[in-house]
Amino acid sequence: MNHKNTLSYTIPYILWLGLFVIAPVILLIIQSFGNINGHFTLNNYVTYFSSGTYLRMTFNSIFFAFIVTAMTLLISYPMAYIMSRLKHAQFWLLLVILPTWVNLLLKAYAFIGLFSKTGTINEFLSLIGFAPHQMMFTNMSFLIVAAYIEIPFMIMPIFNSLVELDRSYINAARDLGATQWQTLVKVIFPLSTGGVKAGIQAVFIPTLSLFMITRLIGGNRVITLGTAIEEHFLVTQNWGMGSTIGVVLIVAMILTMMLTRDRKKKGGKHGK
């Protein structure tokens, strides 16, 4: 009886998973083996792995996602650490989360207003005597906006892992003679790597396939895999090639998950 009940409860979820996760992935894989006329072929993969353009694009995607992740981590860890120590920590966290409620495109347009030739920053620069700079459509502007958008997703898991950290570990480290800095490096950081890994997953994977920002802010100078997929599906109508790139992205995501998953440390590693 119990078993039947559980089954009937899980049916909606199984249906959901089947319709919106498993079926699309299967379709994607099937289509990645089809040419423009829908016939079976391995050509898409051959093209992908033999073409310099696609490989460069892959490298670019990974490279930019890596830089964005590193930037957000560098900014987010100290910020999450300070926030976790503040009196009204939950209030500050809310301030960090707030921007994520605003639509991504709106935020992108806001940055255009800031970065454009007649934008706020250039106006300020000319006020103190600098000539206006070209800031839109540069790699830097893309990196800044992408990092800005991803920062809350990095801060949240790190913040949580720091808040959950038992204070007695910190007391113990200080008690044993560690300064605040040594405590941070030797105890707090190693014990919050779970949050850091979760943050990396939450930032790196979506950044791999960012595409609207690359166009609006990066001016399509940075062509990531996300952009390529969009072009193939909507412009060149080569669904097979688009699906192939999609499969590559999925594989990249699985790899990232595997690299950042929690592993049990085995055996001693101190030098004897």
């Binding site: 038992d166 007695s168 570990y169 007391n171 113990a172 480290a173 200080r174 008690d175 044993l176 003679g177 560690a178 300064t179 040594q182 030797k186 105890v187 190693p190 014990l191 440390k265 055996g267 001693g268 590693k269 101190h270 030098g271 004897k272």
Partner: protein
């Protein structure tokens, strides 16, 4: 007297309106085993954290070897702590945990290795260097925590209810071992517990805390035999506490009769509380007893029977006896004058000590009779 290693002068601690410690004075001498004993929320752990440096005193001075250390950060204090939940670093193995303090100080590899080996030997964990913390039992983690703290050669070791998570047998064993370690190393231990049995068994000197104050301090025997007030008498050991009247020196009235005793120094006919320990009471035949009681109940406790009874004034009595009694039977209750301990209401610790000095010096020797 030698200079105390740690001294509190009117130390108080409060959070906003919440006073957790009211003006505490205490002196800790080097090389002894001290216990801070009290119920939870009595301020004992606060005192420990003030010594360790995890908390700052709201007012008052904390001295270490005569030097004020109020503002000294914990890493600069020559004390180490064994935490209640052990707080062993889960990202390090046993060796790395014990070596933590020394590697922070930049000691040499061979020196660290020798010290870790020595410390693990001291707590009987030799050979477990490579174990992960999660692979250890609670008792083993406890030992690692002690080794980690002692590896820093502290002048004073602070222990924050370290045995509370262990089962009864293991706790007994660790009590004995901690006492051994303290004697062997000759350093000062300050042990926090709410377990009076533990405190009595281990300590050279006990501070009893309640509601943010030290209510009494003394040797385990002093505190057990001569509790200063109702709280201490009730908290430490089992006791029969009755209202009484001190007729004159060495004569007290309670339970409707007058008894000879060994206390004095009070006003004639002063209202007092009378303490009689259950193990000091003997059940005898009705005509030999100083009081007549009716047995209500008894329970077998292994090495003795815990018997409850009431006298003709309906006072409840707890008696520990080696022989069983018969429920409903009327028996005599016998005790010696030295078994009667008198507590004045609201007496300060200084007045109490002065009075004990003058009148009560026979009591320490007087409680040896067995029931």
């Amino acid at each position: 007297m030698a200079q105390p290693i740690i001294e509190f002068k009117h130390v108080a601690k409060q959070y906003d309106d919440n006073v957790v410690l009211k003006s505490v004075d205490l002196e800790i001498e080097a090389g002894k085993f001290y216990t801070l004993l009290g119920p939870s929320g009595s301020g004992k752990t606060t005192i420990l954290r003030l010594i360790a440096g995890f908390l700052e005193a709201t007012s008052g001075d904390i001295l270490f070897e005569g030097q004020k250390i109020n503002d000294l950060p914990p890493e600069k204090r020559r004390v180490n702590t064994v935490f209640q939940n052990y707080a062993l670093f889960p990202n390090m193995n046993v060796f790395e945990n014990v070596a933590f303090g020394m590697s922070i100080k930049g000691k040499g590899k061979s020196e660290i290795k020798a010290k870790v080996t020595e410390m693990l030997g001291l707590v009987k964990l030799s050979g477990l260097e490579d174990r992960e913390i999660s692979e250890l039992s609670g008792g083993q983690q406890q030992r690692v925590a002690i080794a980690r703290a002692l590896a820093n050669d502290p002048e004073v070791l602070l222990l924050d209810e370290p045995l509370s998570a262990l089962d009864y047998k293991l706790r007994k064993e660790m009590q004995y071992e901690l006492r051994e370690i303290q004697k062997r190393l000759g350093i000062t231990f300050i042990f926090v517990t709410h377990d009076q049995e533990e405190a009595l068994a281990m300590s050279d000197w006990i501070f009893v805390t309640n509601e943010g104050e030290i209510v009494q301090n003394g040797t385990p025997v002093d505190i057990y035999d001569a509790p200063i007030n109702h709280f201490v008498a009730d908290f430490i050991g089992e006791s029969n506490i009755l209202p009484g009247v001190m007729r004159k020196d060495y004569l007290v009235a309670f339970a409707g009769k007058e008894f000879e005793n060994v206390d004095g120094g009070m006003r004639p006919n002063e209202q007092v509380e009378v303490v009689l320990r259950p193990e000091d009471l003997d059940l005898v035949s009705a005509d030999e007893g100083k009081l007549i009681v009716t047995i209500d109940d008894q329970s077998f406790r292994g090495d003795y029977y815990e018997i409850t009874a009431h006298d003709d004034d309906q006072n409840e009595w707890q008696i520990q006896a080696t022989n069983p009694a018969i429920i409903g039977e009327r028996r005599g209750l016998f005790f010696d004058p030295e078994d009667i301990h008198i507590m004045r209401l609201n007496e300060s610790e200084e007045d109490f000590d002065a009075r004990m000095e003058e009148y009560d010096d026979t009591e320490e020797e007087g409680t040896m009779n067995e029931s």
